[in-house]
């Protein structure tokens, strides 16, 4: 689970950076949260750590010390941030030991915050970013982080031959240079709206130039970064252990002395680890485990909103699905509330957007959420000329019990309007391959979809760019010139207030077209011991373990 999601994340950024690099935008992200109209749902709402157990013993002030074992569903394969091999498994580990100039708010707010840089300015033409470095920042080996290290690291990030997997995040990047010992200047080839978001993600980390160049590939066996933790041991296929970085600048963080990622690829194993106390937190919680966790007095189910959703993609090369009324009918026939209640045990929300919860999303009063209306659905099918229905196949990822259930439920619901669904279980890698080659009629997009940046620009362009640099409506074959024009205007707008006004209109237009049928929005789920405190994630769902502490009471 999640593998497909992260493989998509890796590749999707390739396209988004190409697309976003063609726009002329001055990024307006500065310190502090972006303003938003009171009518506009922020899309990346304030973090709401919603626990389903009242057994949490986290009260009082954080306590330093202790060790944490994290039962992780994705293994770490490399600690080279410029050559990730296993998506989240590598990213979450990198996030503990490395840091960049900026980062995302550690409480889940959609906000770029200072990290190694304490402040920055942006030139009026949006081509030059000047970063003022925080004094006294050191690597985990005690060496100071220098302006030269920063410039060199960013130039590595900006070199597609080095940063090949996530090169798309550096589209528009030109060069970083040292202005003085505390100032680094980055120039772009053209203004990039989401540049600060791009360098807030993991490949834009700062590393010690001399060590990396002298040690070469062996550096990644014992890397040095300026993050809250440093690497202690790395056993491939088994576990990776981090210890507190005593030189970390953001005192008194981290609270923990040690963090171990145990690679527990089986969901039952992760649950056993948690229940036995061998692990204090586990990720990739499956829906079937939710009742067990919720009924436990010693466990807490943590859910936090991030841009994460489940979608069914219709291939418009299959004639019935090219008809917008058919797509709308199928969407209306899906009872999302029942799915959320019966399969996901009440976790999740009925969406009002084709592409998940993102910044600038309109509220439910502005853009009505998906409805369940079989009568309307049948009417639409008749208007489309498919009153008698049609046959269609639906590919779904095999190996996930909740997707089997979801597939069956969708089959049943679409059957009510005459759409005869044949379920086709497919391995996730083949599912992704089929999708990118458009060898499907209906398909779930892997398990879940997540956005790589907390802005709608990425997926809006994936879906609507009809040019040769686009990806054919995100491999659905969908096109709409009017919406593409709106998206182009949106992504080239410099004012966040104006973007906040524009986006709900695009959101509504996409809802009327259904290039992808959003089944539900999901929070990211983890389960942890009730004395595990500070279970924060950033806006992209990356755990912020520097904020975590262990309460002495259970």
């Amino acid at each position: 689970m999640g593998v497909t999601r992260m493989r998509l994340r890796r590749a999707s950024i390739s396209v988004v950076a190409v697309l976003m690099g063609s726009t002329s935008i001055v990024a307006l992200s500065t310190q502090g949260a972006d303003g938003a109209s009171s009518k506009v749902r922020s899309g990346s709402p304030d973090v709401s750590l919603s626990s389903h157990s009242s057994g949490s013993t986290c009260s009082g002030k954080p306590v330093s010390g202790g060790s944490l074992v994290y039962a992780r569903g994705t293994s770490t394969e490399t600690l080279d941030p410029w050559a990730i091999l296993n998506g989240n498994g590598d990213i979450f580990a990198d996030d503990l030991i490395y840091q960049g100039l900026v980062g995302f708010n550690s409480k889940g707010l959609n906000q770029v915050i200072p990290a190694i840089a304490k402040s920055w300015t942006i030139s009026p033409n949006g081509l030059t970013y000047t970063f003022h470095l925080r004094p006294g920042v050191k690597f985990s080996n005690g060496q100071p982080v220098t302006a030269q290290d920063v410039a060199w690291s960013l130039n590595q990030f900006g070199n597609p031959k080095i940063n090949s997997v996530m090169a798309v995040l550096s589209v528009g990047y030109h060069h970083a240079s040292v202005v003085n010992s505390s100032t680094v200047e980055i120039t772009l080839t053209h203004p990039v709206t989401a540049f600060l978001n791009d360098i807030a993600t993991f490949p834009a980390v700062v590393l010690p130039q001399k060590l990396v160049t002298s040690e070469g590939a062996s550096f990644w066996k014992h890397p040095v970064g300026s993050g809250p933790f440093s690497l202690q041991t790395f056993e491939s296929g088994s576990h990776v252990t981090f210890v507190r970085n005593k030189y970390y600048w953001d005192k008194p963080l981290p609270y923990l002395n040690k963090v171990t990622f145990n690679f527990a690829l089986d969901s039952n194993s992760r649950m056993l680890d948690l229940q036995s106390g061998e692990a204090q937190i586990a990720d990739l919680i499956t829906p079937s485990q939710i009742p067990t966790i919720q009924s436990s007095k010693s466990l807490v189910l943590a859910q936090q909103k991030i841009p994460l959703w489940i979608s069914i993609f219709p291939n418009e090369k299959y004639k019935p699905l090219a008809n917008v009324d058919v797509r709308l009918a199928m969407s209306d026939a899906i009872d999302r509330k029942t799915i959320i209640k019966e399969i996901f045990h009440g976790i999740g929300t009925v969406p009002n957007s084709v592409i998940g919860q993102l910044k600038f999303d309109g509220s439910n009063s502005q853009v009505p959420p998906y409805k369940y209306d079989v009568t309307e659905a049948k009417k639409l099918m008749a208007e489309a000329g498919y009153a008698k229905g049609f046959n269609v196949t639906l590919q779904y990822p095999v190996g996930f019990d909740y997707f089997s259930q979801l597939g069956l439920l969708v089959k049943q619901e679409l059957g009510a309007i005459g759409v005869n669904v044949t379920l086709v279980p497919v391995a996730t890698t083949t599912l992704t391959s089929n999708w990118s080659l458009m060898k499907y009629q209906l398909t779930f997009f892997g398990t879940e979809i997540s956005s790589d940046i907390p802005l709608p620009d990425e997926y809006a362009q994936f879906l609507s760019d009809p040019t040769s640099s686009g990806i054919d409506g995100f491999f659905t074959g969908w096109k709409d010139q009017k919406i593409w024009t709106m998206v182009q205007k949106f992504t080239s707008t410099t004012s966040n207030a104006s973007r906040a006004q524009q986006w709900p209109k695009i959101q509504e237009a996409l809802m009327k077209q259904q290039p992808g049928i959003n089944v539900m929005d999901l929070p990211i789920l983890t389960a942890h011991a009730n004395n595990f405190c500070g279970a924060d994630v950033n806006i992209l769902g990356v755990d912020q373990l520097q904020n975590t502490w262990i309460s002495s009471s259970k």
Partner: protein, 312 residues
């Protein structure tokens, strides 16, 4: 004997070559582009093409085959595309936990199975015999996944005698972390040991020389453990040696349940990622293990039983 060994070794080489060839063909028939999978569905096509060219995937299958074998003959198993490291290095790390798990599991199977087989054989169709057969059949019928979880729940979660998962090196660490998975494996193999040994023991215990031994007043325990076992045990070894090769990749479920970083889970990961080099290497490893284990079993049999002639 020497000529026999040489002939068998040559035969082994032929079998391994055939196995490598079949594996190579089958792996390349799998749908999906390993380079595209490694780089992601929206990596620029020029990057995918360049990587395919670099790795030689653009060449004809025959050219790739000869290239693969050329490297194999030089001991080069290639690079694992999905893990960014040499196959030899990765296998070196992952094969030891699997070997230890299989060895420990076989030991437990023998430890439990042999006494049960003896108990059954000395009083066939008695209560102990019925009980043993019922127990071994029941355990054999349980899916390994479920059996492992139940053992984990009971001994790990409830009794807390062992950790529920994980792998640690060192004698103490291995004992702690491998006992439950090895117990699961051992129990699933007990039926092979018990049934085959019981059958052979009954046959042997009914033979004339055993009667003669009894009539000479030799103690029953000596008859069973020394005289009868020697003749009865070889077929069981033969069966177990055949099973070893399957276990190399067959412990994947146990490795997943107990989080053992072994070859089985690596194989699954490699197949899902279409990592040709890894799949070919692991399959070759498993096949070679079967061949070598069979050879050793045959030679042991000849050494233990003078009636067995391995050569003419």
């Amino acid at each position: 004997m020497l000529m026999y060994v040489i002939r068998r070794l040559l035969f082994c080489v032929f079998v391994v070559w055939a196995l490598a060839t079949v594996t190579f063909v089958l792996v390349h028939l799998m749908p999906g582009d390993p380079v595209r999978l490694a780089l992601g569905p929206r990596a620029p096509q020029y990057l995918v093409n360049a990587e395919r060219n670099r790795l030689g995937f653009d060449n004809s299958l025959l050219t790739q085959y000869f290239s693969y074998f050329n490297k194999l003959l030089h001991g080069n198993l290639g690079t694992a595309l999905s893990l960014g490291a040499s196959v030899t290095y990765i296998l070196g790390q992952r094969v030891i936990p699997s070997v230890l798990l299989i060895s420990y599991g076989l030991f437990i199977a023998v430890l439990i199975g042999v006494p049960l087989a003896i108990i059954s054989a000395v009083r066939p169709n008695g209560r102990a015999d019925h009980g043993t057969r019922l127990f071994t059949t029941f355990v054999f019928g349980m899916p390994t996944f479920w059996l492992g979880l139940m053992i984990d729940l009971f001994f790990g979660l409830k009794l807390k005698w062992f950790p529920v998962s994980g792998y640690s090196s060192g004698i103490g660490g291995l004992f702690r972390t491998l006992t439950l998975p090895a117990l699961t494996l051992g129990l699933s193999l007990v039926v092979l040991v018990t049934r085959s040994l019981r059958f052979n023991l009954i046959q042997v215990l009914n033979s004339e020389y055993i009667e003669a031994a009894r009539s000479r007043g030799i103690a029953e325990w000596r008859i069973v453990l020394i005289h009868a076992m020697r003749n009865a045990v070889m077929p069981t070894f033969t069966i177990l040696s055949a099973v070893i090769g399957f276990l190399i990749g067959g412990t994947v479920i146990l490795e997943q349940v107990f989080q053992i970083p072994g070859v089985g889970s690596l194989l699954v990961q490699a197949v899902l990622n279409r990592d040709y080099s890894l799949v070919e290497a692991i399959t070759l490893l498993a096949g070679t293990s079967v061949v070598v284990a069979s050879l050793i079993a045959d030679m042991l049999q000849a050494a233990l039983d003078p009636r067995v002639r391995l050569w003419r």
